[in-house]
């Protein structure tokens, strides 16, 4: 290609585009920033009107998120030993005492186990199936593919009752394994479809060369196709994780004490009285972090994964 390219946009069109995109980013990130800033507000600051953009930050919301508290009278407080740590100091200012840790830590850990577990499983099964669909003559291939996609059309509530009854019989109700299998079952359609697209793009010639070199199919798959599909796998993993991490309908209906994840938990954090917005915001912020980090780490793959289509014949 010559140094001059007609497809390289002009400097002016670039800067106009940049301004517009930045504008959109600012608008779209504002609610997100509001969540994060609310997590550092005190209760009264969070519900003040007009809304406060400038406030003195506090970690009260985070303390509330991780603790259970109860009210204490001033007299009761006076008889207590001095606060043992900063968290107690913060809640005592509001005439409360910490009664123990909240369930948020457990719920968060459940989300990690279930979210990442089901993502891993979806990717593993999805890659295998996508490869088979891409390379082999599978009988009724198109029908099977559409069947796989169609399982995603079922409203989750519709299958929730049979699944609930089935899980109870199998002892999978309210367990991590049950939720991992369930989310994998939901995600796998997306995984197969996305991964098939990526694997279709990998020239068959690579494998054929490997086969001619005497590799078995499986070796060719593992040593030739998988590395080539890495970007596709990474970006598919992001989409699977986003779903499993954030799922609500099944979680609220099928889990309770043991395997409940964070999404049903966060909207219902209440303080002493009404909804504790700083704690909700703190929960939302913390809950966003792992997916955000995962995405940023895999950002190159996500973007390269998108451009991967560019080499399409």
């Amino acid at each position: 290609m010559s140094s001059y390219s007609v497809t390289e946009p002009s400097a002016r069109s670039k800067s106009v585009a940049a301004v517009l995109v930045v504008l959109y980013a600012v608008i779209t990130l504002l609610p997100l920033l509001w969540i994060i800033s609310t997590s550092f507000k005190t209760g009264p600051d969070s519900i003040s009107y007009p809304p406060k953009a400038i406030f003195s930050p506090t970690v009260e919301g985070y303390v509330n998120l991780f603790t259970n508290r109860t009210r204490a009278t001033t007299e009761q407080l006076a008889t207590m030993p001095p606060p043992a740590n900063f968290a107690e100091e913060i809640v005592r200012k509001r005439n409360e005492v910490i009664t123990g840790p909240s369930r948020f830590g457990e719920r968060f850990l459940n989300s990690v186990i279930i979210g990442f577990g089901s993502t891993f499983l979806s990717i593993m099964l999805g890659t295998l199936a996508a490869y088979a669909f891409s390379r082999f003559k599978v009988p009724l291939k198109d029908d099977l593919l559409f069947f796989i996609l169609s399982t995603r059309m079922m409203p989750p509530i519709a299958v929730a009752i049979p699944i609930f009854l089935m899980y109870r019989t199998l002892g999978l109700s309210d367990t991590h394994l049950g939720m991992i299998l369930l989310y994998t079952g939901v995600n796998i359609s997306l995984a197969v479809w996305l991964l098939k697209g990526f694997i279709d793009e990998i020239p068959r010639e690579y494998e054929e060369a490997a086969l001619i070199d005497g590799y078995t199919r499986f070796q060719a798959f593992r040593q030739v196709v998988l590395p080539q599909a890495a970007t596709g796998i990474a970006s598919t993993a992001i989409f699977c994780l986003i779903f499993a991490w954030n799922e609500y309908a099944f979680a609220v209906l099928l889990t309770s004490g043991n395997a409940q994840t964070a999404p049903p938990f966060i909207p219902t954090i209440i303080g002493v009285g009404g909804q504790d917005w700083p704690a909700v915001a703190a929960g939302a912020t913390l809950f966003l972090l792992p997916v955000m980090i995962f995405t940023i780490l895999l950002r190159k793959h996500l973007l390269r994964g998108i451009t991967f289509g560019a080499v399409r014949k």
Binding site: P44, I47, S48, Y49, N68, R69, T70, R71, T73, R94, N95, T99, G100, F164, L165, R168, S173, D174, V252, L253, S256, G257, P264, P267, T268, I269, I270, V272, G273, G274, Q275
Partner: protein, 439 residues
């Protein structure tokens, strides 16, 4: 070889027994709200006395009924003890989710006469008004009102009100007075902020607007059915009084609530009140201890008010609150009963009240010091004397959902008339009872 085997078996048996003894763990299920935290604290005494470890499963209000009824309906063993909502009692008794407690009460000298009568009827009995007990009253609750005493007492506001209405600005005794006051405050500037009249229940999803509208309609003459003939609803549910009550509720919603009050229940009410947006607030009594210690509205700024009277002087209030029951599917029913026995003790109940739990024990609430023990104690006592509750039928959830739909459609969405809404409700409820075989 034999000796070895014997030793091994003994060791195993001993270990199993030891494990069972040391590991008795009870799970108590309730809503995730402030009183639940107090109960955790209170239960530490039980753990110390009995050696039984308490675990808690608190489900937030919006999902509480769904989640717990789901659990009970599928015979789940998650909960040994359940502090279930008052309306579940019919279904739980008839489907055998709860253990019947009559024998246990008799054996342990627990008398239901020792509890406030309304709470026994409301939380424990099924069928209602028969001595069949399925729970022990655990947390008394009732809809009442709070008002900004500090605003009412400001001379300039009081004077302006008197000039306009020809009477003093004091806590309202009738709904008509309440609306005057709400209208008076609506849109007023106080301390540089616009404030509004009243916060009321309007929530669509679970039970909010039903609790709120019923709370008002009772005093206007609404009845669930013919006192002479059960399930005979036409002319009672949609009586002229009931229609007037619902119209009143809508007019209150239209004239005097803060903007955006279209989907509010307990939490939103608390927010509106604490942030200083409203002069009056409808809410369950459980919220009151929280206001007393709030930096914005606590320390004497808040007055507590029994539900006002209707046009004919009738005065009722919507019952809230729950009883504690033993789940029939639990494998640790004995330990669970032990907890109830401990919970029923007068000293436990007295401590419960001091920690913000609304005890239903007469020895506690009839104590001469009770009424003055907290600024809201008298209002709570008076309110508990005039309570009514929604259907506690096995099909309560269907009845409730139909009510939510009809009421929200009229009050908030503004579709149709109050007469149409209540006529429709009679129809819906009739269908449900017909499906049940009760009609």
């Amino acid at each position: 070889m034999k000796a070895k085997l014997l030793a091994a078996t003994t060791a195993a048996a001993w270990m199993a027994a030891g494990a069972a003894q040391a590991q008795t763990e009870l799970t108590l299920c309730w809503a995730a709200w402030d009183p639940a935290n107090a109960l955790v604290e209170l239960s530490k005494d039980f753990e110390a006395q009995s050696g039984i470890k308490m675990k808690f499963e608190f489900v937030p209000w919006p999902n509480f009924a769904d989640r717990m009824l789901n659990e009970l309906n599928s015979g789940g063993k998650l909960c040994d003890l359940m502090i279930g909502d008052s309306q579940w009692i019919g279904g739980s008794a008839e489907s055998g989710h709860y253990v019947k407690l009559n024998d246990f009460f008799a054996a342990n000298d627990i008398s239901m006469d020792a509890f406030v009568p309304a709470t026994v009827t409301g939380y424990s009995e099924w069928p209602k008004n028969t001595p069949n007990y399925w729970s022990l009253p655990a947390f008394g609750d009732v809809v009442g009102w709070t008002y900004r005493k500090d605003w009412f007492e400001r001379p300039e506001i009081a004077a302006e009100f008197k000039a306009k209405y020809g009477r003093d600005l004091v806590a309202p005794q009738t709904f008509a007075e309440l609306k005057d006051i709400a209208e008076f405050f609506q849109g007023r500037e106080i301390d540089g902020k616009t404030v509004y009249g009243a916060s009321i229940y309007t929530e669509r999803g679970s039970e909010g607007i039903t609790m709120g509208a019923m709370d008002v309609m009772y005093s206007f003459g609404f009845k669930y059915d013919n006192p002479e003939k059960p399930y005979d609803m036409a002319g009672f549910v949609n009586s002229p009084g009931a229609v007037a009550g619902l119209e009143f509720y809508k007019s209150l919603y239209d004239c005097c609530t803060p903007p955006g009050s279209s989907n509010g229940y307990m939490g939103e009410g608390i927010d509106a009140y604490k942030s200083g947006q409203v002069a009056l607030q409808m809410n369950f009594a459980f919220t009151w201890p929280g206001f007393e210690v709030d930096p914005n509205v606590g320390g004497g700024k808040t007055g507590y008010l029994v539900n006002p009277a209707g046009p004919d002087g009738e005065r009722y209030a919507q019952l809230g609150g729950q009883g504690i029951s033993v789940v029939a599917y639990s494998e640790k029913q004995d330990a669970a009963l032990e907890y109830i026995k401990w919970f029923a003790k007068p000293e436990t109940q007295a401590k419960w009240w001091s920690m913000g739990g609304f005890s239903c024990l007469r020895a506690v609430v009839e104590d001469p010091g009770f009424a003055t023990s907290q600024p809201y104690a008298q209002a709570f006592l008076d309110s508990m004397a005039i309570v009514k509750d929604f259907w506690a039928e096995p099909s309560y959830a269907t009845l409730l959902q139909d009510t939510q739909k009809r009421l929200h459609d009229y009050v908030v969405a503004g579709n149709g008339t109050a007469q149409e809404a209540l006529d429709g409700l009679v129809q819906d409820w009739t269908t449900t009872f017909e499906d049940e075989g009760k009609l």
